[in-house]
């Protein structure tokens, strides 16, 4: 048992609160930290955003809960302000991705740029060499490989490794995921045992800074607030109206118009605003022409994708093709595939993924995460699928 100080990233939820209780019970010196990331009041009431603050991120209630847990456990607790970095590294990329016709994952960006970067720095500065979080994942050191490994947790239904593929060796070496071996019911039971007031608090699912999960309203409100400042986005987007465009079929026929590429994601069927005899799906969103390409379900399948940039975890480099299972969205069943360097001319951190079977709705902006059993080999951001590859 270590006596070194450890910082726990506390959100006020059951998972991170239980982590703090577990480490405290082990006799570790624990410091609770909550990151203030987004001011929920900032966009409240703007452009159709709810007046009342309903989002979960950094709400005063959650900080109150975390503070209460820290008090119950008798550990020091602080809120640290990372609003500037969060906006720069998570919120703006989130908005820009949608405006470019992609479907972003803000949680991974937050993990890479905030939780396991900024928070880790603060932790070290205040005397904690390690941080612990309430993620469901495992981290172990492999002597033979001489590398830190990220592994899937015992509770596969809670697996969060998909959002953690960007962690570096340095970050992993300083991170603890104490819930990696537990199931969610066990965690709640432990929270009750420690008399934590939040033991029955419901899980949060939505994007923390988007109240009520309505990301379209969030984008519109954010754009209205930022105005001209977003001009560097391709096509000089200054309002949601300028990203309107045509709805076309896969064979190039214009069948209607749409009010903005941010309304669509690959594989989407509802809300296309066009009526035809057979069901239509979004096949592709073209950033340059702002066209939304629609087609039949079978046109959504592809065998290959390119991912960039890629972060490798269980291996230092990828020289040869490697057999793995690949997840292309959080709720995707990992599918057998071969990963290999994209090409000799491509950037070294670009990987080509070729699935054994075509996969439905490979979506740019999401992550492709590579697994070898429970071990996360690495992962990268999906650039796009390679056309005509279903043949």
């Amino acid at each position: 048992m270590s006596t070194e100080t450890i910082a726990v990233a506390m959100s006020g939820g059951v998972d991170s609160s239980t982590v703090a209780a577990m480490l405290r019970a082990e006799g570790r010196k624990v410091i609770g930290l909550t990151m203030q990331l987004w001011n929920q009041r900032r966009l409240a009431g703007h452009e159709g955003m709810p007046e009342s603050v309903q989002g979960r991120c950094c709400s005063i209630d959650d900080v109150y809960d975390a503070r209460r847990v820290a008090e119950t456990l008798g550990i020091p607790y602080y809120v640290v302000n990372h609003e500037e970095r969060f906006e720069r590294d998570v919120v703006r990329p989130f908005v820009e991705e949608y405006l470019a016709g992609r479907t972003p994952i803000p949680c991974s960006l937050c993990n890479n740029h905030l939780k396991f970067d900024q928070l880790l720095i603060v932790a070290q500065q205040i005397g904690a060499e390690q941080i612990a979080t309430g993620h469901y994942a495992r981290v172990v050191f492999d002597e033979q490989l001489d590398r830190w490994l990220l592994k899937r947790p015992a509770d596969k239904s809670k697996d969060q490794t998909y959002f953690l593929f960007g962690l570096t060796q340095e970050q992993l070496s300083r991170t603890l995921f104490p819930l990696g071996g537990m199931t969610k019911p066990e965690v709640r039971e432990l929270a009750r045992k420690h008399n934590l007031a939040i033991a029955e608090k419901p899980d949060s699912q939505e994007i923390c800074f988007v109240p009520g999960g309505d990301y379209k309203r969030f984008l519109e409100a954010y754009l209205a607030e930022q105005g001209e400042q977003l001009a560097q986005i391709p096509g000089e987007v200054t309002s949601i109206k300028t990203i309107a465009g045509e709805m076309v079929t896969t064979d190039g026929k214009v069948i209607g118009e749409h009010a903005g590429v941010h309304n669509f994601t690959v594989g989407q069927r509802k809300g296309l605003g066009v009526a035809t005899g057979s069901p239509l799906y979004v096949i592709q969103i073209k950033n340059d022409t702002r066209q939304v390409v629609v087609g039949k379900d079978e046109e959504l399948y592809s065998r290959t994708l390119r991912a960039r940039p890629v972060n490798l975890i269980s291996t230092a480099e990828l020289r040869q093709p490697m057999r793995v299972a690949v997840k292309i969205r959080h709720k995707h069943q990992p599918a057998p595939a071969i990963i290999e360097p994209a090409s000799e001319s491509a950037a070294p951190d670009e990987v080509r993924v070729t699935f054994d079977q075509p996969q439905r709705a490979i979506t740019p902006g999401q992550a492709a995460v590579f697994y070898d059993g429970d071990i996360v080999v690495g992962g990268g951001w999906i650039e796009g699928w390679i056309e005509n590859s279903t043949q």
Binding site: T34, V63, D146, L176
Partner: protein, 406 residues
Amino acid sequence: MMRRVYLDNNATTPVLPEVMDSMRPYFGEHFGNASSIHHHGQETRAAVERAREFVAALLGCRASEVVFTSGGTEADNLAIFGLARPGDHVITAAIEHHAVLNACKHLAEYRETTGCEVTYLPVDGRGLVDPADVKRALRSNTKLITIMFANNETGVVEPVAEIGKIAAEADVYFHTDAVQAAGKAPIDVNQIGCDLLTISGHKFHGPQGVGALYVRKGTQLEPMLYGGSHERSRRAGTENVPGIVGLGKAAELASAGLERGDDGHHQKMAAARDRLERELLKIEATGLNGEGAPRLPNTTNIYFDGIEGEALLIALDLKGLAVSTGAACSSGAIEPSHVLTAIGLRPDRAKASIRFSLGKQNTPEDIDFALGLIPDTVARLRALSPVWPSSTPKAAVSKKLAARSQ
């Protein structure tokens, strides 16, 4: 038990034992409602009026000009909302406490209901308001000037007497928030020439939850609270007798301390502050905020380049030293200081600034303790800072940690 040293006396101060003793009977045997006609009421009424006299003595005014409130924020709000009427213009400064700033912001934001316009005056690089700016900002409809006596973050003392003259010449009301000055600098409402002045008990070793507003005789002030005719109908609500008694005692002790001069606490406090400041400024890449301006004897605000003030505050707190930075928002996270921003400090320096504020209870040993901690902690933070030039690159991946992660 870890030794703890408290150098955040501009946030709040410990209640002095004499103050505590003075209050105690009013939680027990002297429990009467000061408005009651019977013996019990008379007892507490007398205590309230005695306290009013002590506060009046501290401020150089008449007892009848003192209105007790729940604290500094209420007194500031009463001054502003009690005077500003539709069509009025109000002059304030960018460095005011939020109790004034946000009250003025409300006046300006809800113009359709309040009808008020507000001018926010800038400050110079030292944090001083230029009285000439006050004069220039005057309009025919200017009703009120509200500019603080001394700033809570930097301790900078504003030229309130000069502003008072300008206000008197223009026949405009002048309110000053003297929350930080009370007990640390002599206050005389006639010398300042103010019509309203705010103090708060807990900033000078009195209890929290009680303050006072000086209201010059003849000032047409509308109440904010309606109810009984307490406080000459200026502030309805049963008096907080123990609090008021404590405030009175704190005022009495503060007046005595200010009169004592050389052997008083203030000289000692100033000497201790000066030593702390001198030693901290010896650390490489540091600087004083508010340099060149007259300052309170207990406050120093210093930036340490290359660090986050937030991290330094936490690191010091974990070692037993309480200091502060910026202003806490509702969650407790630290927001960049509007005061340091108004002074024109670079954003990174505003975030790298720490306020040290001393109180009567601090000893030379407390300063030794602080000086024993701060230089090393600053050095460690800089070594881990992504922006400090000589910081060590991220530590090599530690295999040592392997065993612990299981």
